[in-house]
Every structure is written in structure tokens, then in C-alpha cells.
């Protein structure tokens, strides 16, 4: 198979993206364009799924069809019949690096995955187009009973465990895109951490979209059993295309009593991609759920990671960063729902808008009846780099109890002339100074990232900032 590294950056996008390469892939199977009950059933059949999953998909498709497009958020100019919903690139999953087809390997090598694995990774799962093709997991994790596999495999190998939670945290009728994902999902990660097992190093998955006009609908389910802890990291990079592309994932997390889960995402999508993701966690007694979410690129991102604090002592934390450049709209935020007494929540949201980009913070804090003595703090800071760019804040607070403490602070700033003068008076150019100010602005999030992601995040910001003069 010939490999063609195409420097296909459309000039009108004008943004530098080092991941702007494509590898020519021969998909083994490609469903027809568009979506119908027939295609949904075909996907299930191709995957050799049990009847319950096939029925779940078909039911979800009905819900998808019955739901109108959301009227809020960003402009959704999507033609659902112009998208491929399933593409299977290789016949079976590679168990070792040697089994991975050379062409796919090459794409991963460009992304630096083998190297990253050597250095840091406990287990690499990488999603190429719709299906995981390469996965390895360190032996000791397996010995401790940790399950870390792609979700398709979990349907076959761990059906009882999966079925207990799959679609229960985020049911198909939650929203139109959750329904779509439920109908056509493919790939994603399935993780189970048994009672008391604390995984010290982050589990990581890399994936990317790599077929024009192809949607990516991965489905992730993480179950952290009592007293266990895990940090899951996903990084996404995507090549640039000139036609619309859709990414619509669903991520469900269950944090049982006394457990802890952190889910870190850095997404750098191509400028034409619609990134519409539903992420939700249920945290039970004294459990802590943390979402760390970095959103760069895409045409429109709508993403509001949420934590439902179900039992006393639960804690939810959401840290998010959005960077919007030319032609981009990040409608990102967070949702915290206090369903029990003595629960605490925190949202820290930072957004940067540049070259006409638009960032919105959309957040909900809800305190249910009976959730007394709850505390919640929301901080959202926006940095606007030029007069063409825009930032909006839509904070919603619904409180059904008296004895609660809720704080909300919001700030919008432009890079200050005095900051620029101070830094340039020490020999930094204007571009260096504004990059430094932006990196400082997001530092509270970046310092929460594993080392190589922190480096990557700073470099991505650098690329976004290049050529911008304050």
C-alpha cells in the first residue's frame, strides 16, 4: 500500500497544524453514506453483535430521528445523509506492535505513539477511524483484574458488566447526539478498575479521524469500583479536510463509593469538524470525579462534561480550556448536579479567543431538594486577543435548597497593554510576550496534565499563537 503524506492545508484556513497529514487507507468495509435503520442494523451485523445491542441501536436510531436539532449553542449546519457512519480499517485488532498494519503504524509513528509508550504509557489504545486496531496493556494491570479494552471487545467479552452500565449514565434519549452515537457507535474504551485498585500512572488512548466525511462515534465506559482510582487520558489530533466532518462521542463514568476518577482530554480538531460530545459521570458516596478538558480547533465544539453527585460526600471538579481561532466556535462548559447533602463541586473554565474566534462558557449548577450543606464554586475567565474575537458567558444556577454555598466569578480580559509593555521591555517580542501571557493564563490547567500532555498543550498553544501579534 502506497503512503502519501499530503500537505493538504487548505489555504483559507491559514492555521498551522503539524498534524495536517493524511495516510491513504484502504478501508476493508465502508457502510454506505447516510443513516437509516438498515445501515444501523448493518453496522451491528458487521460487528457480530448480540441481539440486545442491535435492538439498543435501532431503538436509539428512532429516538435520534424523533428529536429536533438543538436550537441553542452554535450553528449546526450538518447533513446527516452526507456522512459515513462506519468504517472498519483492518480485519482484526493487533495484539502487539508487530501485528499492526504498516500503513496504520506509520500514522501512529507520526503521532509519536510508540515512543510515548516506551516513556510513559501503561497501555496504549489507539483508535484509527472507527475501530481500535492496536492495544496493549501492561501485565500487572491485568493481574490486578483491571479491564482496559475497546468497547466493541467488551460487548463480546464482558457483556454482563458492560450491560449493567452501558447507556444508563447517558441514555439515548438524553439528547439528539447521544441518540446518534447510541445508534452508530464504534470503538472507544472500556475500563473497569476493581475494588481498592489504585492505578498510579495514567491510562492513555490516542485516536484520530482519518477518512474524509467520516463521522467518529466512539463510546467510552469507565467503571471505578469502591475505593479504586484511575486517571484516563485521551488526546486527539485530526488532519484537516475541506468538507464537513462530525465527531460525536459519548463518555460514561461511574465512580463508586470512595473511588476517584480523573478523565483528561486534549482535543485538537481540524477546523471543519463538528465536535459534539456528551460526557457524564455519576459519583457516589465520598467519590471524586474530575474532568480536565482542553478544546482546540474544530468548527464548532459543544461539550459540557458533567458530574452528578448522587450520595453524600461526593465531589465533582471540572477544569476546562477552550481556544478558538479563525472560523471556530467553542461552546464549552460544565454541569454539576448536587443530588445529595454535603457534596462539593468546582468549575474552572478558561477560554481564549483569537482572530475572530468565538468562545462561550455555558454552565449549569443545580442543587436538588434535600441536597443540604452543599458547596459549589464556579470561576470562568476569558481572554480575548483581538477586537474581532468574542466571548460569552451563560451561567445557569438552579437551587432548590436554602443551606448551600454557591460562588460564581467571571472575568473577561484583553491582553493588557501594561503586561505587553512590561514583557517587551525585557527583550521579548510582541508575539513572544502574548504567547507567554496566554500560556500563563492556562497554566492552572496545564499544570494538572501529565508531563507530555503539558508539553504538547503548550506547543499547540504556540502553534495557535504563531503569527498573532497582540
Amino acid at each position: 500500500m502506497a503512503t502519501d503524506i499530503t500537505q493538504a492545508a487548505p489555504s483559507h484556513i491559514g492555521e498551522i497544524n503539524k498534524y495536517d497529514f493524511r495516510t491513504v487507507t484502504e478501508g476493508v468495509f465502508k457502510a454506505e453514506k447516510g443513516i437509516s435503520a438498515k445501515i444501523v442494523a448493518q453496522i451491528s451485523e458487521m460487528k457480530g453483535e448480540p441481539g440486545w445491542m442491535r435492538d439498543f441501536r435501532l431503538k436509539s436510531f428512532e429516538i435520534f430521528e424523533s428529536k429536533p436539532m438543538p436550537k441553542w449553542g452554535g450553528a449546526l449546519d450538518l447533513n446527516f445523509q452526507d456522512i459515513y457512519y462506519y468504517l472498519k480499517p483492518a480485519d482484526h485488532q493487533g495484539k502487539t506492535w508487530d501485528d499492526v498494519p504498516a500503513e496504520i503504524k506509520e500514522t501512529f509513528e507520526k503521532l509519536g505513539i510508540p515512543e510515548a509508550e516506551r516513556k510513559f504509557l501503561a497501555g496504549v489504545k489507539a483508535q484509527f477511524e472507527s475501530e481500535v486496531v492496536y492495544g496493549s496493556l501492561q501485565e500487572d494491570l491485568g493481574k490486578q483484574g483491571v479491564l482496559f479494552t475497546d468497547t466493541d471487545t467488551a460487548v463480546k467479552e464482558h457483556p454482563d458488566l458492560l450491560r449493567e452500565y452501558f447507556g444508563k449514565i447517558i441514555p439515548p434519549h438524553d439528547n439528539k447526539f447521544a441518540a446518534l452515537n447510541s445508534a452508530v457507535w464504534s470503538g472507544g474504551s472500556f475500563i473497569y478498575v476493581p475494588k481498592g485498585v489504585k492505578i498510579e500512572f495514567p491510562l492513555q488512548a490516542y485516536f484520530r479521524i482519518n477518512a474524509e466525511n467520516m463521522g467518529q462515534f466512539e463510546r467510552t465506559l469507565i467503571i471505578v469500583d469502591e475505593g479504586a482510582s484511575v486517571h484516563y487520558v485521551e488526546g486527539c489530533t485530526a488532519p484537516m479536510y475541506t468538507t464537513e466532518s462530525l465527531h460525536s462521542a459519548v463518555v460514561e463514568v461511574v465512580c463508586k463509593k470512595g473511588s476517584r476518577c480523573r478523565y483528561t482530554t486534549i482535543q485538537n480538531w481540524a477546523n471543519n469538524i463538528y465536535n459534539l460530545v456528551t460526557k457524564r459521570a455519576m459519583a457516589y458516596q465520598d467519590a471524586t470525579m474530575e474532568w480536565v478538558d482542553g478544546n482546540l480547533g474544530s468548527r464548532l465544539t459543544m461539550k459540557y462534561p458533567s458530574v452528578y453527585m448522587m450520595e453524600p460526600g461526593a465531589r465533582g471538579e471540572i477544569l476546562s480550556i477552550a481556544f478558538s481561532g479563525a472560523g471556530q466556535h467553542q461552546d464549552a462548559g460544565a454541569k454539576l448536579v448536587h443530588c445529595a447533602p454535603n457534596t462539593t463541586g468546582q468549575i474552572i473554565s478558561k477560554s481564549i479567543s483569537k482572530n475572530g474566534g468565538r468562545s462561550s462558557y455555558r454552565g449549569l449548577v443545580r442543587v436538588e431538594k434535600g441536597a443540604t450543606n452543599t458547596k459549589c464554586n464556579v470561576v470562568c475567565d476569558a481572554l480575548i486577543l483581538d477586537p474581532q474575537s468574542r466571548s460569552d458567558t451563560y451561567p445557569y444556577i438552579e437551587v432548590a435548597e436554602q443551606d448551600v454555598s454557591i460562588g460564581h466569578e467571571a472575568s473577561v480580559s484583553r491582553i493588557g497593554e501594561e503586561q505587553m509593555f512590561y514583557l517587551t521591555s525585557r527583550g521579548l517580542t510582541e508575539a513572544e510576550a502574548s504567547t507567554m501571557i496566554v500560556n500563563g493564563f492556562i497554566e492552572p490547567l496545564v499544570k494538572e496534565l501529565p508531563m507530555e500532555y503539558a508539553v504538547e498543550m503548550n506547543r499547540l498553544i504556540q502553534l495557535q499563537m504563531e503569527g498573532s501579534v497582540g
Partner: protein, 274 residues
């Protein structure tokens, strides 16, 4: 050749309001100059104009470093040419560690031709030097990990400015009230540090109300600013006189400049100018 900083008939406006009205100043590297004057006379304006603050418009006159015109240069070009301003009120840059900022700044100033994105001074080398300078200034090394001026006390900000002066080693440094807001011990420490780092190595222009800084850094020249002009220049005895007697004699001797000063002070109080 000794480096020179030459200012001729410098007029500077802020938001179209004239602040400096024809300043002349000659400095040589290795000399210490004191710049004194009542509030609102334009001392800080001179410092900011030399450094190139975008709001301080040079309407006429020249500022030359070794015969090269600074007025057309951006602030970073001036820094690379060897000019430094210790800010009266340093600016906080949240999230940026002092050490990271200084490594970048030091690299640029030492390698004026460095292009954006080129390598910085190697980390080990830089850390060693920074640590040495911090010990010399009796600063806790941990201080370098803090965010630039973010949550610093007045004294910490001034010491951070002196640390930057020590690292960047400019040809000419303007110290704008680097002793203000400090207690007696801190002023002594700051004065000794400046003497050790800069005296006879740099051309120092020390803007101050007090004489403590000048005890450790006795000026060869003292300039008195009033109403946006340097109305008198003398030796150390002039600094001593102003410190003990105040500006009464000067105000009486230059009534026109005094009137301008009073007028500017009125404006400045209505709308603070840096």
C-alpha cells in the same frame, strides 16, 4: 569606546497632553545620575519614554544610544540594545514563572539576533547563573518559581526588579523609585545590591525621593526636574540639599516651570499617569 545615552530637546505627550518639555541629558556608562523632583514633574515619564511605552508619544527630540536613535525602536529592541527600566509599579503576569520569563528575556538580550522559536540558554547553565545571582541578592531560590509579580509584596517586587537588572546586565538602567514602599532594612539591601550589580558597570539613572539609595550609590550628577524640564544639574551636594531643604528654592528660582508642574499635577491627580 564608552557607551553613551544622549537625550536632546525631548518632548513627550500622553494622550496629547505635553508632559516633558525639552529634556536634555548626557550619560556615560559607569556614571550614576540621580533624578529628583516634586511629584508630577515628569520623572517617571522620562523613564517610560526612554523604554518606549506606547502611550508616551515622543513629539520631538531624540534619545540616542551610542548615536543610534531609540525613538524608532520597539521596547524589545531597546532592551536588546542595552536599556533597562526597573518599574516603579511592576506588572503581574499570572501563570508565568519568574525563572521561565527571565530565561527567555536573558536569552533575547544576550543574543539580540535570536529569532523567535530558536533555542534558549541551556537550562542547566541558566539555573546555575540565576541561583548564583539570587544568593548574591540574598533571595530564596524558591522565589524564581513564583509567578511574575503575582501576589508579591512591595519589597518582593522591587527585589525581583533588581534580580532582572542583575541578569540582563544592561548598558543603561533607569531605576524608578526602586526604594519606595520598602522598610529601612529592605532599602539598605536594595541599595547595596544595586551598588554591587550596577555601580560603575552600568549607567544608572536613579529616580528617587530619598537619599538612602544615594548613600550607597553616590551620584556624580544630580538633576532636578520641574514642570517637565531638567532645571538644574549639580553634584551630590544638590541631592543632599534637596533631601534636607526640599524644593522651595527650586520652585522660586523657576516660577514658570513650577506653574507647569502645578498644572500637570492637577491633571495627574485627576487621571493617574504612570
Amino acid at each position: 569606546m564608552i557607551d553613551t545615552l544622549t537625550i536632546r530637546e525631548l518632548h513627550v505627550s500622553v494622550e496629547d497632553k505635553p508632559i516633558l518639555r525639552g529634556v536634555n541629558l548626557d550619560m556615560k556608562r559607569g556614571e550614576t545620575h540621580a533624578l529628583m523632583g516634586p511629584n508630577g514633574s515628569g520623572k517617571s515619564t522620562l523613564g517610560l519614554a526612554i523604554m518606549g511605552h506606547p502611550n508616551y508619544e515622543v513629539t520631538s527630540g531624540t534619545i540616542e544610544l551610542n548615536g543610534e536613535d531609540l525613538v524608532e525602536m520597539s521596547p524589545d529592541e531597546r532592551a536588546r540594545a542595552g536599556v533597562f527600566l526597573a518599574f516603579q509599579r511592576p506588572i503581574a503576569i499570572p501563570g508565568v514563572k519568574l525563572a521561565d520569563f527571565l530565561r527567555h528575556a536573558t536569552t533575547n538580550v544576550r543574543r539580540p539576533d535570536r529569532k523567535e522559536g530558536e533555542e534558549l540558554i541551556p537550562m542547566r547553565e541558566f539555573r546555575k547563573e540565576l541561583k548564583g545571582k539570587m544568593q548574591q541578592l540574598q533571595m530564596d531560590v524558591e522565589f524564581a518559581r513564583r509567578y511574575v509579580n503575582d501576589g508579591f509584596s512591595g519589597g518582593e517586587m522591587k527585589r525581583a526588579e533588581i534580580l532582572q537588572l542583575a541578569m540582563l546586565q544592561p548598558k543603561f538602567a533607569i531605576l524608578d523609585e526602586t526604594d519606595s514602599g520598602l522598610d529601612a532594612d529592605a532599602v539598605r539591601l536594595a541599595s547595596e545590591s544595586i551598588a554591587e550589580i550596577g555601580r560603575e558597570k552600568m549607567g544608572l539613572l536613579i529616580i528617587t525621593h530619598h537619599d538612602k539609595l544615594l548613600v550607597h550609590n553616590p551620584p556624580e550628577f544630580t538633576h532636578v526636574m520641574l514642570g517637565g524640564r531638567l532645571v538644574e544639574t549639580g553634584g551630590i551636594e544638590l541631592a543632599n540639599e534637596l533631601h534636607s531643604e526640599g524644593y522651595e528654592r527650586i520652585r522660586k528660582a523657576y516660577p514658570d516651570a513650577d506653574a507647569e508642574n502645578q498644572a500637570m499635577l492637577g491633571k495627574i491627580e485627576a487621571q493617574p499617569v504612570g
